[in-house]
Symmetry: C2
Amino acid sequence: MNVKDKLYKNQGIHVITAIFTVEQGITKVLLVKRKNEPFLGDWILTGGALYNNEDLMEGAKREISEKTGIKNIEIYQFGVFGRVDRSPIMRMVAVSYIGVIDSKRVEVLRETLRTSNADWFPIDKVPPLGYDHNEILVEALKELQKKIVSSTILKSLFPGVFSLPELQKVYEAILGMKLDRRNFRKKMLSLDLIEDTGETAKFEGKKPAKQYRFKKKIEEKKVF
Amino acid sequence: MNVKDKLYKNQGIHVITAIFTVEQGITKVLLVKRKNEPFLGDWILTGGALYNNEDLMEGAKREISEKTGIKNIEIYQFGVFGRVDRSPIMRMVAVSYIGVIDSKRVEVLRETLRTSNADWFPIDKVPPLGYDHNEILVEALKELQKKIVSSTILKSLFPGVFSLPELQKVYEAILGMKLDRRNFRKKMLSLDLIEDTGETAKFEGKKPAKQYRFKKKIEEKKVF
DNA sequence: ATTATAAGCGTAATAACAACACTTGTCAAT
DNA sequence: ATTGACAAGTGTTGTTATTACGCTTATAAT
């Protein structure tokens, strides 16, 4: 191997996704457990090495499918992590994504070739992860908080109808703060992402809540 | 080479920077001309392959220095481009940056090992570029337009003092629109990025303009 | 019927943004 | 020295978005 080879060769690309869900007001992230070196036994975010014959997002989705069985998840790119020493084997640059899914609707979290396990962790109870995945997770959560304000990224949690108080609880779990009921309603309705179904849901000893659904069309917001 | 090798091996990382300047109300981007295959003779953005022993931004700055002689430029990461066929030689993923520099202060744009030339192109007169650099440039310009609103990315164009009308002309060139003089002043002063020097500049047969400078400290804006 | 609970609805105060008109300091022409 | 042209400086008003907060209403349990 000559000098130039040492400079350029043996590089690779990771595609990493932080998959979130919300259960009973707790925001959780999906982690898998490695059963090979490096980081054998460590929990990490779902992801792996990009193949040469696939685009970035394609690769990220394949890795999700392989490691967790989850298909048809919508994911959003948000950052790149490339510190020289982030992988001990060879020089890897990680292209990272976020996604949201309803944990109750996930098929099965099965044992795979390279991971022995998969589980949901509350975001404030995440153990030290392999690679630089703690760092990636921090940024991923920030990105998720940004995204929910004006996108339909939460649609997967509410594929059918839902009430605004239900939706608000998820927002509060992700943002980590309480929101005003009346202002939340006003904001959501003005964003034009959801629509009234005309139906109401009744349970418990309370006033029935109106049922909404996410609209089909997504309209992009202008920067100026 | 076995199947696994074909999937994973021979990947690399590009670090690409779109360097902008503004001259007489015209936004321009710095391009260099390739003198090797692939894309021999084509203009491209500054950049190249990342070395194994450098972090991403470090690599981007090294490439800028090597290809144009520019040092001490501040750059900002903004996106990743990884289409399977974006490079004809091997699988390359491009991590991209933007930067701004005063073309009048650039040392020299010299012939280099792998580029024969470097020149500033008005952004609406950019030729078809090598690789996917036209695509990258489009996104880079969008990012620049976002960044100038609330960062000191333009500081390099105004290392000393400047008047608000001067600054406004640069904003208008980059945004491609006219701005209201009074609202622009109000906005800039409220952003807390610049400060009054107490001095005025007099030239031409007009009212002297107050002189401002960028503040030393940069304060981050909160998301919420 | 009464009460507790959480949903729905409305309004006032404030802050951010957009639109717009007049005054002022300099040079050049007279 | 007066006047005109020019671009810089400044202030006000209307609109829209955000925040804060109070009252009413539908249900189940008693």
